[in-house]
């Protein structure tokens, strides 16, 4: 099946108009010995067969419809109202291109203007772009913006050690070869004040995540305290955040952030094994011309009627080429549209309810686990929906048993990113976890703490 409407008769007619004898004659510019190479591919399947094959592959996975999920660490299992996927499936949205021709793209443009508006409302900022690829690349773009503003005189980037480890890795990839210095990652975990130390006249920015990768929520006063020191050093204060947390907590725009960015997946986007997600990115009006990514602006048509266009394009690659603020072209527009639909449907009270339910359930789970023998909940301060638990056995073993014996997807194993947190897991609880599921997790953890099977497995692993 190839979706090609041309018939043999059509092809013959078209070749006659073109004036060549055969389709193969259209390719004489390709070096002859390289022309028409064999492609060693499996034979073509019909639609029915391909769906059967895909279903078989899908069935091999333990998806969240069959297990209960306490895993987060940057991708979150939140409820998606039916309206979101129903509307996002409209071909008028998903089969359109970037809205360069504004007059026939008002649907996408207005929806993205509304997305920008709701992201501004959520983050407490003045402008938002229409997305970066994900939370990690949005963070890297924020760092690059700060470096560009620093014009080479400010070449140090301070990253909190509790910024998502993969985000720190992406910042490192993006900035390799720029001759910059990355500092801050050796600061004590959770010590905000320690990040002010490395921030000096040579620093372009300080990047902090709140709630941080380990789940800890810093108060607006703590964050403002750091923001003041960062600003005193003349650097940008970049805050990475969970948009659902902003349904309940004071937004970074109210405690001194110059850029607020992060992973937008929790707003109406499926987990989909890691993508496509969207990186949201919001900043101040005074910084918008230095930022990257598409932006929609309001204007009027020749009749004076309101309409929307892509604007401030002189920052972008298709106009500025090597002088652009970034090379970004395609972004995550459809995911941003899903996020807009999610925020519209959730509204003022729905998002707050999601955040409150996640908060209450996470605290309920933490309380029960803290009471278990062998486990310790390591929540030094406030937290939102994630918290760290020290386990009596290696996390990998506990997770394997949780999945195999109880149908539970356990928490993120922190040992590989933070050697000092060996045997520590990061648990996540959202509105999707019922009280019964939480109880089941707690009972399972209790059982596994004393399980000889696990001890045996542990020994087996040690022997290997």
């Amino acid at each position: 099946m190839n979706y090609i409407p041309n018939t043999d008769a059509d092809r013959a007619d078209m070749l006659a108009v073109i004036g060549v004898p055969s389709v193969a004659d259209l390719f004489h510019d390709v070096p002859e010995k390289q022309r028409f190479p064999e492609l060693d591919l499996p034979p073509a399947l019909s639609e029915m067969e391909v769906l059967q094959e895909l279903q078989a592959l899908a069935d091999e996975n333990d998806d969240l419809n069959h297990v209960s999920c306490f895993l987060g660490a940057g991708a979150y299992n939140h409820f998606v109202p039916s309206v979101v996927d129903s509307l996002i499936r409209r071909g008028e949205f998903y089969s359109a291109y970037t809205p360069y021709q504004a007059e026939i793209s008002q649907g996408t443009l207005q929806a993205h203007f509304e997305y920008q508006s709701m992201i501004c409302a959520l983050t407490g900022m003045e402008t938002s772009n229409v997305s970066h690829y994900d939370g990690a690349t949005a963070t890297a773009e924020a760092v690059i913006m700060a470096l560009q503003v620093g014009r080479g005189k400010r070449s140090k980037v301070v990253l909190s050690p509790t910024l998502h480890p993969q985000y720190r890795a992406v910042v490192r990839t993006y900035t390799q070869g720029m001759g910059i210095q990355i500092a801050g990652e050796d600061a004590p975990l959770g010590d905000l004040a320690a990040l002010a130390g490395p921030a000096g006249a040579d620093s372009a920015c300080v990047v902090v995540q709140n709630p941080d990768f380990l789940g800890r929520l810093y108060t607006p006063a703590e964050m403002q305290g750091l923001a003041d020191k960062v600003h005193a050093a003349g650097a940008f204060f970049i805050v990475v955040t969970d948009p659902v947390s902003l349904g309940l907590f004071v937004p970074p725009g109210q405690y001194g952030a110059d850029v607020v960015c992060g992973e937008g997946q929790p707003m109406g986007n499926a987990l989909s094994f890691g993508g496509p997600y969207l990186g949201f990115f919001a900043t101040k009006l005074s910084e918008v011309r230095k930022s990257s990514g598409r932006i929609v602006g309001q204007t009027v048509d020749t009749d004076g009627k309101r309409g929307f266009v892509l604007t401030l394009s002189t920052r972008e690659q298709h106009i500025r080429r090597e002088k652009a603020s970034s090379n970004i072209c395609s972004n995550q527009a459809l995911n941003a549209l899903a996020a807009a639909m999610y925020l519209a449907a959730m509204g003022k009270y729905g998002l707050r309810t999601v955040a409150e339910l996640s908060y209450h359930k996470a605290h309920y789970a933490a309380g029960l686990i803290a009471a278990l023998d062998g486990y310790e909940v390591k929540a030094a301060g406030l937290f939102f929906k994630e918290f760290v638990v020290r386990c009596p056995k290696p996390v990998a073993l506990i997770n394997q048993a949780l999945l195999d014996e109880f149908g539970i997807l356990g928490g993120y194993d922190l040992g590989s990113d933070y050697p000092e947190l060996k045997d520590h897991m990061l648990l996540c609880v959202t509105e999707m976890n019922s009280r019964a599921e939480i109880k089941q997790l707690v009972d399972a953890l209790e059982e596994l703490a004393g399980s000889d099977d696990l001890a045996a497995l542990d020994g087996e692993e040690a022997a290997q």
Partner: protein, 485 residues
């Protein structure tokens, strides 16, 4: 036709979702951390449905009409792709769950890595980059790291033809490297004489060349092997921009032509929807000697025949969180499996046939600088019409909207004045191509007899021509207090 903003239909007290009651004891909130107000809209479910349905109806899309946007490959997006990507076994998978609990998804990733490598003639592929430009950044970082690992740290120049997409020079700058532009020759190829002098002069400082082939004039470079040879001879590497790969599936393999690195645009060539600007996927393929430099982790098959994540030994690092735009990968995989080798070759043959047919139908009406050559999947005409001095490409583009056609790409490539870049794709019928050609011929006539009709177009779109200068000046970038304007 207009639709109010979602904020303008908000009424206090309306709700569009029902959430469960709290079934656990409530924990106290930290009072000083709780926000006072959350200024999001309050609407009912039917408000949401009608609002976005009406907005969708203001869009032109592939599902509603022809979309001959050059270098964007706006082919039909098969519906089966959407079903495949939403199978719960894919859509409800957490990216960080244990590899052994996601073997089906990893098998699909592994297969797609191998399928893409075979189609373009490369040794190894990463699926992590999220878009074409992201793939370019990945490729350039790979080239630099490979050369620097050999001790050639003085290399800092990338050659970019003047016909290149804007992302190529932007990527080069973003990587901290210098751009040097190579002009095209009279036949639309890379100018070999100038390339020779550039490689002779700057050879030891070259990272390499970024080449789109077929290029943005829609032409397959007649000297591609010589171009590649010259860059390699200077110690540089050749990067292939795969934006125009739809022209050469089963026709030529870039890896065999000597390209060292290439990105694929799965959202162009492999039918995944553009989504109003994304998501895409910019998978990157490399020759064997660069395989260790790929970003990762990528999927490998281990000795137990299980799929596992592995970071390539000399990797440039991660370019994105997690593994790539997986749901986009599922769609591309579906497309490739439904086509097979013969089907993919038919895709390119018909894409090129359709473009040449349109070029033939229009070449006596619109100037087409290289119409003496056969084009590949696209061609570039000019909106300069004899007898219509006041009419430009933008006028023609806007008038096309009145006939329910999306305009071609306009004013690109930059090396052709008043460019109209037309890419019909293989999924359009001869009837559609004829209707489009007839319309462009009619518009050329209108340009002479009634230019005002074009100057004031569009007449039947949801809005008339929009004031872009005002938008950039006023900077009204969101709704509500503190949003400018």
């Amino acid at each position: 036709m207009s639709e109010p903003l979602i904020y303008e239909i908000s009424r206090a007290g309306r709700r569009a979702v029902s959430l469960p009651a709290c079934d656990v004891p409530e924990a106290p909130f930290p009072a000083d951390a709780v926000r006072a107000d959350l200024p999001l809209p309050e609407v009912s479910e039917i408000d949401v449905v009608r609002h976005y349905t009406r907005l969708s109806q203001l869009n032109h899309s592939i599902d509603t009409g022809f979309y001959p946007l050059g270098s964007c490959t706006m082919k039909y997006n098969p519906k089966v792709n959407e079903v495949a990507a939403r199978l719960p076994g894919f859509a409800s998978l957490h990216p960080l769950q244990d590899a052994l609990s996601a073997q089906g998804a990893m098998a699909l990733i592994h297969s797609l890595q191998e399928l893409l490598a075979e189609i373009a003639g490369f040794s190894a592929v990463t699926l992590q980059p999220a878009a074409g430009a992201h793939g370019e950044l990945t490729g350039v970082l790979i080239m630099r790291k490979y050369l620097y690992d050999r001790g050639e740290t003085q290399r800092d120049i990338i050659l970019v033809p003047d016909s290149a997409h804007g992302t190529n020079p932007a990527t080069t700058s973003m990587s901290g490297l210098k751009v040097m532009v190579v002009p095209s020759d009279a036949r639309g190829n890379v100018n070999l004489e100038i390339l020779r002098s550039l490689t002779a002069k700057h050879g030891p400082h070259l990272i390499g060349l970024m080449l789109t082939n077929p290029n943005t004039l829609g032409l397959f470079d007649e000297n591609v092997e010589e171009v590649v040879r010259l860059v390699h001879e200077a110690g540089g590497l050749v990067y292939g921009d795969g934006a125009n790969f739809n022209a050469i599936l089963g026709i030529a393999k870039p890896g065999l032509l000597g390209f060292d690195v290439m990105h694929y645009n799965l959202h162009k060539t492999f039918s995944t929807p553009h989504g109003g600007g994304g998501p895409g996927s910019g998978a990157v393929g490399v020759a064997a000697f660069l395989a260790d430099y790929l970003p990762g982790p990528i999927v490998v098959r281990d000795e137990d025949d299980e799929y596992a994540w592995q970071m390539p030994a000399k990797s440039i690092g991660r370019v994105k969180a997690f593994w790539g735009n997986f749901a986009v990968l599922v769609r591309a995989y579906t497309y490739i499996r439904m086509h097979g080798a013969e089907g993919l070759r038919q895709v390119s043959e018909n894409a090129v046939l359709n473009a040449n047919y349109l070029q033939a139908r229009l070449r006596d009406v619109y100037p087409i600088p290289h119409s003496d050559r056969t084009c590949m999947h696209e061609f570039v005409a000019q909106g300069k019409l004899e007898g219509a001095p006041g009419i430009n490409t933008m006028d023609i583009a806007k008038r096309l909207m009145d006939f329910d056609f999306h305009p071609p790409t306009v004013y690109f490539p930059l090396i052709v004045a008043e460019a109209l870049m037309v890419e019909p794709t293989e999924t359009e019928s001869k009837e559609t191509l004829d209707a489009f050609a007839d319309t462009l011929i009619r518009i050329a006539e209108e340009a002479r007899t009634d230019p005002e009709l074009l100057k004031t177009a569009p007449h039947h779109a949801p809005v008339k021509r929009l004031d872009e200068v005002k938008a950039a000046k006023d900077m009204v970038l969101c709704y509500g207090p503190g949003c400018g304007g």
